[in-house]
């Protein structure tokens, strides 16, 4: 399924969470969002935000000082 991309590089928490929250507000249930970040704190914060907001983290992975989270938008 096609995924939307959110570039949250260089942003420090909680800004990537805020950007994710605002982006998901514009999306439909079941859509996929890939969030791309450089703050390692997102690996904790975005999954926590997803858990309390009813969205599902499908996958997380990391590159060279970069962090990626794939989210499936909840209903």
């Amino acid at each position: 399924m096609k995924r939307e991309i959110l570039n949250a590089r260089r942003l420090l928490c909680p800004m990537p969470v805020i950007r994710t929250q605002d982006k998901i507000k514009q999306m439909q249930p079941e859509q996929l969002l890939e969030v791309q970040c450089t703050d390692p704190g997102v690996m904790q914060d975005i999954p926590a935000w997803c858990r309390i907001s009813g969205h599902q983290v499908l996958e997380t992975w990391r590159g060279d000082h970069e962090y990626f989270i794939l989210i499936k938008v909840g209903g």
Binding site: L12, C13, P14, M15, I18, P40, G41, M43, S53, H65
Partner: protein
């Protein structure tokens, strides 16, 4: 069937707001959290930047509290709007550049707007009478309620019994008898309540959760305002004041010296906006130069850059200077000694 009432709780990530929300949830009210990000929140930023803190957990306490409570949390970016609060606070500053009373009024006002837009009934805060010298005093609590526009829709569950009954109490949405009468700076009542609720892990930030109550941070912000000749800032300014050693050798420029690799990586992101300096003959930190230096100033900046690298004891160090447009220069300088840098250059 009675209407399900809904409250929004200002969640800072500390214990008090957690207990306030829990107290109201226990009464069957639907509670959601709201957290305002001003840019000055201590949460996350510095330990996200600095390598030395990488071993510590990086949880955002507001999110963590919301998860413990099982409630939604709405994080709201108020960076731009907050400028007018900080730059010109009606009620003045606290010990440093902390406009605590205006800040509380601002946040409760934003929460009031939020409940109107989202169909909620009232607002909860974790305020405790007498706990904070500026914003949580008997005399200032009514000011917050009135000037925020929240009036009697603002309920402070931890000290409600010391205050006139609010609308949620008068209407019977919440039982006033089950609210609390905590006063003062002692944390014992809150700790006892936490134990009662089975809460054994909570954040207790020393000195609060805001950089503006920090003496050194406030001094750097004041220096920024003096250097630019006006009380204003951009979000990047707020971030950069949290990072590195700040050294001002002259009114027309200052240096931001990375203290370790994590800060260096963070400062790299600003190399297209600032002149940057980096020793090429020895290992050393990335340094950003903020201001408009003369050619002579650049040599001084390079000597300071050399001072903080592994060539500090060498006779000469080569320093590369990169300009925002990508132009580069290399200079050879003698590193300044520790005593060559007056203490009052350090911000």
């Amino acid at each position: 069937m009675a209407q399900q009432r809904k409250a929004v709780a200002l969640i800072s990530g500390g214990l008090d707001s957690m207990l306030a929300a829990k107290t109201i949830m226990e009464q069957g009210i639907h509670v959601e959290g709201i957290n305002f990000f001003t840019g000055f929140c201590v949460e996350g930023h510095t330990h996200a930047i600095r390598d030395k803190d990488k071993a510590k957990p990086k949880r955002n306490n507001a999110l963590w509290v919301a998860e413990q409570l099982g409630i939604k949390l709405h994080i709201v970016d108020v960076i731009e709007e907050y400028k007018k609060v900080l730059i010109n606070p009606k009620h003045g500053y606290g010990a440093y550049l902390n406009p605590c009373l205006d800040c509380k009024i601002f946040m409760v006002n934003k929460a009031k707007q939020w409940i109107v837009e989202n169909g909620f009934d009232f607002i909860i805060t974790g305020e405790v009478m007498g706990q904070r010298p500026m914003s949580q005093r008997r005399s200032t609590m009514p000011i917050v309620a009135k000037q925020s526009g929240a009036d009697d829709l603002l309920l402070r569950p931890l000290c409600a019994k010391n205050l006139p009954a609010t609308l949620p109490e008068r209407e019977g949405w919440v039982d006033r008898e089950k609210l609390h009468d905590i006063t003062g700076r002692s944390r014992k009542p809150q700790m006892a309540m936490a134990e009662q609720f089975g809460i054994d892990d909570y954040s207790q930030p020393a000195g609060g959760c805001c950089f503006l109550v920090d003496k050194n941070y406030s001094a750097k912000l004041l220096d920024l305002w003096q250097a630019q000749g006006k009380r204003d800032y951009e979000f990047d300014d707020v971030m950069l004041l949290k990072v590195g050693r700040h050294i001002r050798p002259a009114a027309n420029f200052k240096l931001i010296v990375a203290r370790e690799e994590g800060e260096g990586r963070f400062l790299q992101g600003y190399q297209k906006e600032f002149i940057s300096l980096l020793a090429s003959s020895h290992n050393g930190p990335l340094v950003l130069l903020d201001g408009e230096p003369s050619a002579e100033d650049l040599f001084l900046a390079a000597s300071i850059t050399a001072r903080f690298g592994q060539g500090r004891e060498a006779d000469w160090v080569q320093v590369g200077i990169t300009f925002p447009d990508g132009a580069e220069r290399n200079v050879t300088v003698k590193p300044l000694s520790k005593d060559d840098i007056p203490k009052d250059w350090y911000l």
